[in-house]
Symmetry: C2
Subunit: 231 residues, 2 copies
């Protein structure tokens, strides 16, 4: 990596991307990290406010890009009319699978980076417990990195610091990076609930991860998704 | 290719994608071809009406998907505020280059295909005289095909029947397929003009191609972008 390079974090406001934000700040340095969120018609719109608050507290320039296309594609429970459930949908994948979502996010992130001379993209995709989402795998990321670099004639590096970590290991990493408090302000629940519903796939995975890590989720301690305390 | 497979044509309403539509109808058969256009904030909105008319005349189910994200990315003349020009923009590419455009189109097309059990995507990208767009090259398409197939756990084939043809060869192919008349109803001009401005890059390339093919452009003969005559 060259000196003074900039990085763009795809930042949902959830626990994994919050860890990525802290990771990027450590790796690239303050003032060289940017965050990008997507308003793509997700039911859990609450995550966008969380993303904004966390980025603001860390003084990371943050932008929310709108994508209005996913609801038109239909047939998933995150942007469509299906009920969020743990049941399997099409082709054995959870019905929360939005086909192409991470591919689209990262391609738009690369286009956003292109006009700002940013060569590094950071995403919190996680293969180890990836909920059955094929767009969270290392092989997908490598192929996409190549497609983007060729398609924009602009070599980018996709950083996936969590790809081979369990969610529990991700939480421990965030703790080590000094960012655990930020999770009081994060959002994960697919049902857009606060306090979290505790029942959707995302809530179940998050709870299991904290239990495995032996750490109490700051979100559950927080009384009203309080502002992150920055050290 | 298995029997009775379906294909989705990414259909802009221009000359190349019209050729692809005829090509797909021949290869996959009537009733098994679908068309998808994108309303992405392009100045040349006229192409969408042209696409609708051509698809309608050929009885091909056609859908226009909206993508509102590109104008927010800025910095190109197709969706932004720059003037369409032949001058080179960022990194030596024309200022009509919208970073990531074809990657995004094909990924959304694949997501659209995913929920409809369509495994074949057809795009009119053309490497031979590709206007300097890196997302029209074979290597990009191969990498993207892999990224999509892995990312959706859904193997798709990207067909690029024009990739190694000059635009003149593409016109001859369309003639052979019996579709030349359809071009009376097509649109190419970046400046959204009818009659075409004749000055933008797209108009210049189209005029040169017809000249090389030794064929008069049906669009220039047509008095008001008349409805395509289907045989």
């Amino acid at each position: 990596m060259k000196k003074n390079e900039k990085a763009l974090v795809v930042f949902s406001g959830g626990q994994d991307s919050t860890t990525c934000l802290y990771w990027a700040l450590k790796k690239f340095g303050k003032g060289r990290v940017f965050a990008l969120s997507f308003d793509y018609g997700q039911r859990h719109q609450r995550e966008l406010a969380c993303a904004k608050r966390i980025a603001g507290a860390l003084k990371v320039p943050h932008r929310i890009l709108k994508i209005n296309t996913f609801p038109e594609l239909g047939n998933n429970s995150l942007t469509g009319t299906l009920r969020v459930g743990n049941r399997r949908g099409r082709r054995g994948l959870p019905n929360t699978f939005v086909p192409g979502r991470n591919l689209i996010f990262l391609t738009f992130a690369a286009a956003y980076a292109y006009v700002r001379d940013i060569r590094h993209l950071v995403t919190g995709v996680c293969e180890a417990d990836y909920s059955g989402y094929p767009d969270c795998r290392r092989a997908t990321m490598k192929a996409l990195e190549k497609a983007i670099s060729l398609g924009m004639e602009y070599p980018v590096t996709l950083h996936t610091p969590l790809i081979h970590k369990t969610k529990a290991e991700g939480i421990r990493l965030l703790k080590k990076l000094g960012g655990l408090d930020a999770l009081a302000c994060s959002h994960t629940c697919y049902n857009n609930a606060y306090p979290p519903c505790g029942k959707c796939n995302a809530c179940v995975l998050r709870a299991r991860a904290f239990k495995q890590a032996g750490i109490i989720d700051p979100l559950l301690k927080s009384k009203r998704q309080e502002f992150v305390k920055v050290k």
